[in-house]
Subunit: 545 residues, 2 copies
């Protein structure tokens, strides 16, 4: 982490229309270089247009005013309202870049205590104000969007000031943490204790603990601790019907797990204010290697190696299989072969036996293991080495995406999970459907795939689309590609999302995937906890049955 | 498994009042020996009384008759009704032994297909008949009991004929399995494929897959896969409002996990009819050792070793810490020291590095590792060796308990989970409270403790009580001990149950432990799925708010 987080409201430096903080990301020269590279790849003219300026906006006047008691923590400044209109999907950034902000929140609240969150909720519940909980604002599925059909008054509830580690239990390796803390500030507070949450989604710099929990965020462990879910020891959730405080326990068998109703609830049942989280000792031992899988079926043979690894009980922390396109983009290959980036880490023991057996499995599956493989590698957490380079590129990607938006280039991803028996056919089908759509809609473009997380019974493939769009038609073009991809995911037996959540954008897919009777149960639970339906309506379920 | 399961209804051989099948368990001579041993230990006269016979019962006449279409799969034979009145807690067996069966189910249904389950549910929903789903009948918390206040017609729904593996996916290591299958029959069907669910609760022989899922059963993995929860890939659940069929996926981030609402729902939301379950390859490599912890604080020093192990990332499959009393009872020690039984297993790789590091951790924590430790041991799954002996004793225990019931000796257990920071004080407090209660109520008796499952952030201690009761007063005496123990668990920060579920018996503790607003949400979900409230009322929540 070279860039430190700057809270939006205190410093006003978060970029309201795109990723991260003003001034970070590619320089103007770098942006031009990126544009030229893309132009060269697709053989089209690409010219970055100037980004929007706050002065260009004419936001609708706020339709509500806070009561005097809340005036100090509620803002209707244009920068706050514009910055809380959307999340950070490609669609969101394009709309903001186009100065299309028709439905900003009327007010943005910045509580700095649970009591203030409760006071804001009370006000909104009494006054019929729709509340959109907002953590780091990095949703890529319309989960924090304030354009809500039927909502006449909307408040965005920014939890960013709830940013402290409140209590730390070194013995059990757990901490009680406020939900609004962003990734870097959280790690800064844990580091002096030799601990880490070790949850590194791509949005790490600008996403919050509460957001991770509410959206079942995927971190950077490739196996075992893939989603945030298993790190949650207990929760505090404010609902209009009262506080839900679950008991801090390593495990329990007492009824359906209460935490699991709120993990993934995407702000529709309550506002997560704090959580006891399970932590890790900071790793001291690392071992890793890159394995090549050649040939036209290299990616599928790599997938077979990963299947065996995922069922071996070795639990690599990193098991990132890149297809040739993805390997080329990230500099891990030349585009002729698939690459498996394999890593083990531990705070307790050397990992020679683990890596040796893993490489044996890879060789048996036809992988090419380099001579030097098996030596300890300075890896994740360090800023050096190939893993450090990957990590920087990984965290820079959203900044680069802002440049591509300026160039009318579609840069978006989708991800899923599917069982191993279905994977080969599923993957061919999804790739073909998406490539066909890209070609039909954009004329040219690339679709790449990597595995982000793997399981004994399946994999989570992650697809990246890059394609030149017609300026002004980006959203329609992307919508057509996304629809084709989503149809392929669901028809092939996958999930509409492995770790990007549902929000509003994934509703059509989610509505097909989840059982209707479960939606009825969820709607009933929502009515019990949020009787007036003020919380994030339209996310996950429709307000009325 | 030497004894094969005999389905209750087809062979009629399940012991209606106690554990297992007629004729299994201790012989009359062995029973007398057990009685003498207990008599000697407590210095009291102990004399087994004769068990109840079916002919001695005068069951209430059935209050309902099935429609003609269901007559073939619904029974009101006395043996079926008596056998489905209770589960298998100490309290249950005592009541059955006393011939106290005032509220047997009016009918017992034995569907052998999902369509038949649906037909039974339809009948009951239309006729206002309370339905108690029944898997293997091994509940120890009143979860399958048919004495339900306010219920005028009760049917026990025995899923035992849904006992087949329907589909097997070797590639993903998963199978679609009917929910009524008991442990041995399930393993018999998986074994030819080299696979195992490897879920071995103590009730293994007479508990079902659906029961395990509905109660969040704890298996025999000490780490990682402790509860059945993580083995569930997808579920089919029949509810009065329709079928809930979740998508088969290795993982998803699409909203709150639907499966998690039904895992632990204890029959109040629907009837689980089948599940895709994640399986394991049958282990080929094993390594294990026993480690001694001497001195008056040996158990607590052993706990510290286990804490370090649980945080090491080594993931032992067996990590059973026995206090001196527990070690003596199971033959693993002489009562002077605590014993840690440590085991690793794998289908993929030799485990020398794993065991070596684990033993190093134990030595560092003051454990005495025998010279021979570290050699591969024929262990769980084999019938030989100390682990095999433990396993036989473990599975025999419920049979022995029937003998103790006949002798008016209280033999019951309770279990919990608590974070590591609290554990030492918690354990002293629970032991003191329980021992005080045993002494006060019974004059003498023992309380022993072992760890069944451990986590990076805490342990699941399991307490066993053995005490001589006054004939005729066993239930009141146990209730007083149980109340003292439960109070200590909850006041100390534990859970009312780690893997025995809530049922009706744990309601007072559960009602304190779970957040009220979560109970409201659960009640609302139940109203949506079971509008007339026919399913297992009183379990987990009260029917009315």
């Amino acid at each position: 982490m070279t860039e430190r987080t700057v809270p939006f409201v205190t410093a006003g430096r978060r970029k309201w229309w795109g990723w991260g903080v003003e001034g970070a990301g590619p320089s103007p020269e770098q942006a031009r270089a990126i544009a030229q590279t893309v132009a060269g790849r697709f053989g089209v003219a690409v010219e970055p247009r100037p980004p929007p300026r706050l002065e260009e906006l004419a936001l609708r006047a706020p339709r509500i005013r806070p009561p005097a008691a809340l005036a100090a923590i509620v803002s209707d400044e244009p920068e706050a309202r514009a910055g809380h209109h959307y999340g950070k999907s490609y669609r969101d950034v394009v709309r903001a870049f186009r100065r299309e902000l028709p439905s900003p929140p009327d007010q943005v609240a910045f509580p700095s205590s649970e009591a203030e969150v409760a006071a804001v909720l009370d006000w909104c519940d009494g006054a019929g104000i729709t509340v959109v909980p907002y953590g780091g604002g990095s949703s890529v599925v319309g989960g924090v969007e304030t354009a809500i059909p039927g909502a006449s008054k909307v408040l965005s509830l920014d939890l960013g000031r709830l940013d402290r580690v409140l209590e730390l239990d070194r013995t059990s390796r757990a901490a009680r943490i406020q939900a609004g803390v962003l990734g870097p500030a959280l790690e800064d507070q844990l580091r002096p204790h030799g601990l880490t949450l070790r949850h590194f989604p791509q949005s790490f710099e600008f996403s919050s603990l509460g957001g991770w929990i509410a959206t079942r965020s995927g971190g950077h462990y490739a196996t075992l601790y893939t989603h945030i879910d298993d790190f949650v020891e207990s929760l505090r959730v404010l609902t209009p019907a009262g506080v839900v405080a679950t008991r801090r326990l390593p495990a329990s068998g007492a009824g359906p797990a209460p935490d699991r109703l709120f993990i993934g609830s995407e702000g529709i049942l309550g506002v997560i204010t704090e959580a006891w989280m399970r932590l890790q000792d900071r790793p001291r031992f690392r071992a890793g290697a890159s394995v090549r899988f050649d040939g036209p079926e290299g990616f599928l043979r790599g997938a077979e190696a990963v299947r065996r690894l995922s069922q071996s009980g070795l639990f690599p922390s990193n098991c990132r299989l890149l297809d040739p396109q993805e390997a080329a983009t990230s500099g891990a290959g030349d585009g002729s072969h698939a690459v498996l980036v394999l890593g083990f880490e531990s705070a307790d023991h050397a990992l020679d036996a683990w890596l040796a057996r893993a490489l044996e499995l890879c060789r048996d599956a036809g992988g090419k293991v380099p001579q030097s493989a098996g030596r300890a590698e300075r890896s994740a957490g360090s800023d050096d080495g190939p893993a450090g380079a990957w990590r920087r590129a990984f965290l820079q990607a959203p900044y680069v995406r802002d440049v591509l938006v300026a160039c009318s280039v579609i840069a978006e991803t989708f991800e899923t999970a599917v069982s191993w028996d279905r994977f080969p056919e599923f993957h061919r089908y999804v790739m073909a459907a998406t490539r066909d759509a890209v070609k039909r809609v954009c004329g040219s473009g690339t679709v790449a795939c990597r595995f982000t997380h793997v399981y004994p019974d399946g994999a989570a493939p992650y697809y990246s689309v890059l394609a030149p769009a017609r300026p002004g038609s980006e959203l329609e073009q992307w919508a057509e590609i996304k629809a084709a991809a989503s149809e392929a995911l669901l028809a092939g037996g996958g999930t509409i999302t492995h770790h990007h959540a549902v929000g509003r954008d994934h509703r059509p897919g989610y509505d097909r995937e989840r059982p209707d009777a479960f939606a009825e149960a969820l709607r009933a639970a929502k009515r019990a906890l949020d009787p007036r339906g003020i919380l994030n309506p339209g996310v996950l379920i429709d307000p009325a049955a």
